[in-house]
Symmetry: C2
Subunit: 308 residues, 2 copies
């Protein structure tokens, strides 16, 4: 059973209450704590030694990644992070100095984004390090961007360059908080998600929640240098890395087609150093298609699955 | 290095921001999210296979314990729980039905206390099961009870009976949410904590944060039947179990000496089935002392450490 199927089964009927605006199925849970005009965003994310990082990662990078993943989810809903709690599950014979350096990595990123580290705990996990971060954020109700708002005719945008994250970016990415907040403040963003499972996989989350399809332009997809190098070494098309590799932590979002040029123009002035690319459009017809020189092809697979 | 020393080192200088009212050092972190008159309570707690439960525990009990520990911390600040996220770190070859039963245990307890389970995630932790719960609660600012408010002359109360929790109670305790909220609504509670590290250890947290001492009356301390049976089997005094055993998940609190009788009388009417006991008093002189038939003795050790 894969993760998505298990989660679907576990979350079929969970207890709710009036504070819960949106539970499982978006980047963060959305809560109403009674402050007029505001929602709370609530998220947890864990990284595990040997699964999300290897012995090659520095402790500062491990801390950065653990906090950064949660911050990227707050960004995906155009939220502002408030506070985080850190659970450090430590293997037997851990080195206290190593754990302190993990916290230094967490703290450096937290300070850049004005996030309070409000505490947490340490527990024993004898065989390996596991770091879990719980994050609380806030967002104005009318600026909260969900996955389910994409409409046929929307332009589909992605920040940065995709693929090959395992070569290094997965350990030192910068969550796109300022960018997402600027987008939601200045444009009616219909749907947004952060890229953690790979472009194809995460786009499918938007399509499913929005009940629409999409057509990608293969030549428009921004492919990272790392993905190109990796593709050359593996003799595989670099586009597959950009579609399938996980942990890009870029933003994928849709706006009405009529807003696309204004978004691009505004972005270039606001974030001149970070690429923003229109990579396709949302279609009424379901399914995910890619257009290349030879025509229109249906993409059957999704994120993390290696393409043929 | 023990857990307390490591946490002290890690939390020496963590990033803060204006939303943070209280970080590490209390039962929950306290946040101000801008709602007048209200605070948010934020907490995480993890249980690990072989550390916090064994193979004898049913999956429902494991789920109950994981959520219940966080709820007990919300209770310790007289808060009301809102929503929780569950991180299930699953060993290789886990049984999906087992995980579903863990969620059933979580859900049953959540429903009893009107807590929303707002989502979470599953990750791989190859060798053993680890469950981490992140909890969000709320409390009126003027009813939020901290650890640092105990004053010399206060009466010291404990709910329920103490010790021997490992015989079963640690897997099926009921967090004292209604009791704590009733106390804070009806009396000026000076300081409160939930008993997770053992009476002696947790009382020391109150004493340190409040800069006071305490004198316990050995004959007043309510000792559970499980603690008495355990003491008989081990030929050790049952009082040591009540002082040192962890995971009672009862409330320990202080009120002004002049309020003590009113608290006891009100409690008996409100919660006739749950014992409330005055076990001693707060003193200006620092240190933790126990008075028995032979006189006044200083307690040197604290929770979880076996007494001589």
């Amino acid at each position: 059973m894969n993760e998505f199927k298990l989660i679907a089964r576990l979350t079929r009927s969970l207890p709710a209450n009036p504070s819960l605006v949106a539970g499982p199925g978006d980047d963060c849970a959305v809560l109403d704590c009674g402050r007029p005009g505001q929602y709370l965003l609530f998220k947890t994310d864990a990284v595990v030694e040997g699964v999300h990082f290897t012995a090659q990662a520095t402790p500062e990078q491990i801390g950065h990644k653990a906090l950064g993943r949660c911050l990227s989810d707050i960004a995906a809903m155009a939220g502002r992070p408030l506070a985080a709690l850190v659970t450090a599950a430590l293997p037997d014979n851990f080195d206290p100095a190593f754990v302190q350096r993990i916290y230094a990595g967490i703290s450096a990123l937290a300070q850049r984004h004005a996030v309070a580290i409000a505490g947490g705990e340490t527990v024993r996990n004898p065989e390996r390090l596991l770091l879990s971060v719980a994050m609380l954020g806030e967002v104005a109700r009318d600026k909260c961007v969900r996955r389910g708002g994409a409409k046929a005719g929307d332009a589909l945008f992605v920040t940065g360059e995709l693929g090959g994250s395992l070569a290094g970016k997965h350990l030192d990415f910068e969550p796109r908080l300022a960018e997402a907040q600027w987008l939601a403040q200045n444009f009616p963003i219909h749907a947004m998600i952060d890229l953690s499972d790979g472009l194809a996989g995460d786009l499918r989350h938007i399509l499913r929640m929005s009940r629409v399809g999409a057509e990608l332009l293969s030549q428009a997809i921004p492919i990272s240098r790392a993905a190109k190098l990796q593709a050359r070494a593996q003799s595989s098309p670099p586009l597959l890395a950009a579609l399938g590799d996980g942990e890009d932590f870029e933003l994928l979002f849709t706006v009405a087609g009529g807003d696309a040029v204004r978004v691009l123009d505004g972005w270039k002035k606001q974030f001149p150093k970070l690429r923003l690319t229109c990579i396709g459009r949302i279609t009424a017809a379901h399914g995910l298609k890619v257009r290349d020189k030879t025509g229109l092809h249906t993409l059957q697979t999704h994120g993390y699955v290696h393409f043929a």
